[in-house]
Symmetry: C2
Subunit: 390 residues, 2 copies
């Protein structure tokens, strides 16, 4: 397999801008104003872990005509200039009197005129990454320029991945595959889950992850009570089911899947529950193709998991995946998003094997012309048993 | 040294709530509404990496009287219930029609009456972690209940750390100290910076980090052009200055400091620049005590770095530190925050050693009764040279 290169060709960014501009014309928007890491990166390629600091706001404007304009703290100018964006306007941040707001307002007025409409992502799963007081100040200082919803343009664009994006997600998945294959090296009876977490992250890095933003998991008898808690220092015991769920990154793109392992042995209910999860993923893979909906995948899995009861309170049965650990759509009964070629999804069925004891399984797929392609290596059909040390 | 335990005593959370309620009374607020990870965790102890998923909003309400109320997706109920919060209200998220907004509005009305004022962090460094459209919907559905700025209550509270918080930051620092001591094992001439980054994160985990949310750095001849770029695959060369700056986490608290190393050798300008950075940190440490201001620390360092020219465009000379990689205050000329006992700060001077070539150095301190205590082990006075392999 040819390894993907880092970054994207400028043509890819130009194509994304053109697609946005076409949708903006339809929606009557004179510009998009973006404030979050994936949104800014989607059009600019600006990739840095510096977003971890909440101090400084960052802005990218995509006008209806012409190239994007970055309005960013001076500390980011050198990195932004390495990419294809040429119009980079900076201020010395943090500025306690005016943290980029007047520079942003002036730039927006210049780009959209005195009464243009500026779209911002405001719907489900979107955030505003700037102080709310500055947002209100911006809206006021813009006068007759209006800020409104982006008509889901960002969601629609980002949901369908290019081949270059898919190759990065595939590489992230292959790194996680290799790390999961090595779990028997680090997870044994008596080992504290906390150490398993630490060592698993080391395996991910050793196998090629740039970093490991997400790791969740659990180890409890026969199944686990929860899939979002941090690791405890309780030593793993025979009969525990260990689950590790990782979102590691390669070149700015995530994988997101998990694996289950029985410590020493597993009971029949647990084995049966695991088999149901594998069956549910198989069923969903079988119908995942352009034209099916997110809800179709949900119902297909729910039929196997609960006999069609409509799922549980705690979750969905999968979601989109890409520059973020979770993206649009959601595999729930109410999400009627129609699947298209290039959408990358997780299939994530869960099942209760005993009161308060669940198992969750997850794989990553991409929608292709006539079906779907696995990005993660399918988990084994039988629950793996970790070495019988007693 | 006694190792700190994970978590906090319930009394610590009660003390935080009481301190908030006392400030709320003064500000005329009937409740605080919080949406971001550190704000929710500050009062609840709710610690999970699940915030990496942008899908679901999470809310914590701190009423003027009584205990906090969590309004959260059902997937988080089990983990929240392990803490001290007893009033946990959930909805099945994601809900595309009403993603917690009406449950939140109803809870707020119940807690603050028909015309209470609800404070939300809206100032510098704050974010709104919910969709903007839902924020507007919430404001409308609250009728005469008003949402306004929290009068900087969250900033004021979080800026001063308890001994339990300081012990967690100290432990994060000690993990990073040990990882930095081992850099000669992984960084040699000819090694690609990308691999150094990967291996350094593995060292942080091996030395005890729960995870490594932040790593930045560079390796360029005599100094570097930038401190926020991702690592390149360029092999390090003799004369490069390698800088690694990590924000690793132990039990939800960050360290944030860096170390510089010369690959094989360093020129005299570089050595002189490095010496200036060490001198600037020493000078700032000397005056860091209750009553001094953030600006005082800035000017003290800037005097040594630029002769008092007022710093550079790209940054501040340090900042607060705690549950986030960077917190209030900023060491800049305009930040007149008065230092208090228990504030944890980074001292982060930078210097230009040649046109477009900088060096940055960073240490972590805590303000004590009569001065400051180092949390990171002070960097060596002379620039460390990595093994003379040619």
């Amino acid at each position: 397999m040819i390894q993907p290169e880092r970054g994207f060709a400028t043509e890819e960014f130009r194509g994304r801008v053109q697609a946005a501009q076409s949708l903006m014309e339809h929606a009557g928007l004179a510009a998009l104003l973006l404030t979050t890491e994936p949104e800014v990166r989607y059009f600019s390629g600006f990739l840095t872990r510096f977003w971890e600091s909440p101090t400084r706001p960052w802005f990218l404007i995509v006008p209806a005509i012409g190239d994007p304009v970055a309005v960013i703290p001076a500390i980011g100018a050198a990195l932004m200039a390495r990419g294809w964006i040429r119009d980079i306007r900076t201020w010395r941040a943090p500025d306690l009197d005016d943290d980029g707001v007047s520079l942003l307002a002036q730039t927006l007025r210049e780009l959209v005129g005195s009464d243009g409409v500026v779209g911002m992502p405001m719907g489900h799963e979107s955030h505003l990454r700037m102080p709310l007081a500055d947002y209100h100040r911006l809206a006021e200082s813009l006068g007759s320029v209006k800020l409104q919803d982006d008509a889901d343009i960002m969601r629609r664009l980002r949901m369908v991945k290019s081949e270059a994006e898919i190759s990065k997600i595939r590489r992230a998945c292959s790194i996680a595959n290799r790390a999961f294959d090595r779990v028997p090296e680090i997870a044994t009876e008596g080992q504290a889950l906390e150490k398993v977490f630490r060592h698993f992250q080391m395996l991910c890095l050793e196998e090629g992850a740039d970093w490991v933003p997400y790791l969740a998991g659990a180890a409890e008898p026969g199944g686990y009570s929860d899939v979002i808690s941090p690791a405890s220092d309780r030593p793993m015991e025979r009969g525990d089911i260990l689950m590790l769920d990782t979102g590691l990154i390669w070149d700015g793109y995530f994988c997101d899947f998990d694996r289950n392992y029985a410590v020493g042995e597993a009971g029949s209910e647990t084995k049966a529950g695991y088999a149901k999860l594998i069956e549910a993923v198989e069923a969903a893979r079988h119908i995942a193709r352009p034209g099916a909906t997110a809800a179709d995948l949900f119902h297909e899995m729910d039929r196997i998991l609960t006999g069609g009861a409509g799922g549980s309170d705690t979750g969905r049965l999968g979601h989109g995946l890409g520059m973020q650990l979770t993206e649009w759509p959601s595999l729930i009964a109410d999400d009627h998003t129609v699947l298209e070629m290039g959408m990358v999804l997780t299939l994530e069925p869960g099942v209760e094997v005993a009161p308060g004891r669940i198992l969750v399984h997850e794989e990553n797929i991409v929608i292709r012309e006539a079906g779907c392609e696995m990005l993660s290596d399918p988990a084994p059909g039988d629950l793996p048993i970790l070495g019988n040390v007693t």
